[in-house]
Amino acid sequence: MPRIAVAAPPIAVVAATVLLWWLAVRAFEIPEYLLPTPGAVLEAVWVERDRLAWGMLATAIGASGGFAIAAALGIAIGSILGLSRFLERGFYPLTLLLQMVPLVALAPILVVWLGYGQRAVIASAAIVALFPVIANTLGGMRSVDRDLEELFSLHRAGLASRWWRLRLPASLPSIVTGLRIAAGLAVIGAIVGEFVSAYAGDRAPLGMVIVSAMREYRTDLMFGAIGLAAIVGFALFGIVNFGGWLLLRRWHASARSSSD
C-alpha cells in the first residue's frame, strides 16, 4: 500500500473533526469559555509557542518515562501472574487496586518519597498505565495454545526458555493492545501527575499550563495544551503500532495489510 494511503485516513478524519468542531461552535453559538474555535486554539498555541514547546518536552519525558516503566513492569508482572492460578488469584486484584486509587490521594506519599518534578510525574504516569499492560499480558499468557505448551513440556523446557520462546511471542498481539492503551494512559497519568507535583519555573509542563489556564478562563490555551499533550500520546501510540507491526507482520493476522 502506498505510503500516502496510510496517512490519508487519519488526516482526513482529523480535518473533518476540526471542521465539525468549527461548525458546531458557529452553529450552536457555543461560547468561547466552553469551547473555543479551532482558530483561537491555534492562535493561543502560536502566541505561547516557546513556553508550550518546553511544556511539551517536559510532558513527553514524563509520559514516555512512565510508559516505559509501565511496559517493562507490566509485562514482567503479567508474565509472573501467568505462571500460576494461585499467584493470579492472589495478586491480580492487588494490581487492580493500584489503578483505582485516585492519584490525588496517592500524591502526598508519592511526592514525599520521590520529590518534585519529573520523578513523581513519571511514577504517576507509570501507575496509571500499568494495569492494562498487566491485564493484556496475563490475558495473552493465559491464551497460549495448549498444544504448543505441550511441545515445550515434551522437551522439558525451563520456565525462562518457555517464556522467551513461546509465551512472550504468542502473547505479543495481546501485549501490543495493552501497550496501545498504556500509551494514552501514560499521557493522562503524566498530566495528572503534573497537576499534583508540578515543578516551578518557566519550563512548566503542560499539566501546569492546563491548570492555570483553567482558572484564568483561557480555554483556548487549555485546549491548545491538551492538544499538544495528545500529540505526545499519538507519538507513543504510533511507536507501539510500528513496533507491533514490525514484530507481528511476518506471522500474525492482526498485522497483515488486509485486502480492504
Binding site: 466552553l34 514525599v112 501546569m208 491548570v211 492555570s212 489556564a213 482558572r215 484564568e216 478562563y217 490555551l221
Partner: protein, 319 residues
Amino acid sequence: GDPDATSRGRTSVSVQLNWVPEPEFGGFWQAELDGVFADAGLKVELIAGGPSVPSAQLIASGKVPFGIVSGGELLSINERGGSLVALFATFQGDPTAIMVHEASPWKTLEELWRSDATVACEANLPFVTFLNRKYGGENLKLVAHSTALANFVNDPTLAKQCFVFAEPVTLELQNVPVRVFPVLESGFNPYTAVLVTTREHLAANPETCRAMVMALRRGWDGYLADPTKANAAMAKLNPAMSVEAMNLAAKKQRFLVEDETTRSHAVGWMTGERWNTLAEQMNSLGKLEQIPDEIEAIFWQPPVDDGPMAPALEDSATS
C-alpha cells in the same frame, strides 16, 4: 542584586507555593528582583503549586523548608502529626469569597446562603460549615468545585467560591460582571496564605527563618509600593495570566494585605488573638478536636525592629 552573592555562599532554601505565580505571591518575586533575598544571605527557589499539589504535606514532612498553607490547614495538619509553625501571614483579611452573577437576585452572602441556590465550593471547608451554622443553608445545593470557570460563566444562577482578587478579576477583564461576597464579612476570617516551616526546622535554623521573614516583609513593602516589575516577572512564568490581570489583582488584594496591624507592626504580622479565634472557631465547627494549649507555639515571628538582616550562614544548611 548582589553580583557575587553566590561566591560569598548563600543558604539555599526553597518555598512551596500553593498556586502558580500570581500576585498573591508578589512579595517573593519582589524580594528576589530587588536582591533582598541575596542581601539576607538566601538563595530562594520558589516552587509553584496547584489545586492538587500536596503542599502542606510536603512542608510538614520536611521535604521543603518553607511553604504556603492556610491557617486552617496548619491547625488540621498539626492535629494529625504535623508540627507546622506560621512565620508570616500574607493576608490580614481572608480573600475567600463567593461570587454570583451581577444579574442574579442575591445581594448579600446571607441572602444567598438562605436561598436554594447552587454553589460550587469546596464543601466541608471550615468556612462552609461556618456559613451553614450561621445562615442555615438547608436549601443550598453544594456542588463540586473545580478550577475551571466555564460552568460559572455558563450558568447565570450558579454561585462559586473564589478569591476576591483572582477569578473576579479574570471575569472583569472578560466582561462578565459579577458580585463578590467576601466570607470575612460573616465573621470568619482565618489567616490565609501563611508562610510556614516545621518546628524542627525553626529550632535548627532560627537565623534562616528570621532572614526569610525579614526579607519577605521588605519584599512585600516593595511590591505594595509598585507591583509592576514583579508582575511582569510572574506573568512570564504563568502563560495564562496577563500582566494587566496581575496588576489589577495586585490592586484588589492590597486592602487585604494591609491594615492597622501591618501598619503598626509589619506586613504579614500575626497576633495570638487571631490564631486563638481561628482555633476556637474550628473547634466549635468540629474541624479541630482540641484547641492547642499554647497558641503562641504555632506561630513565630521576629520582632519588627530586629535590626538589619544578618546573613544566615551560621544555620545548618537547608535546601
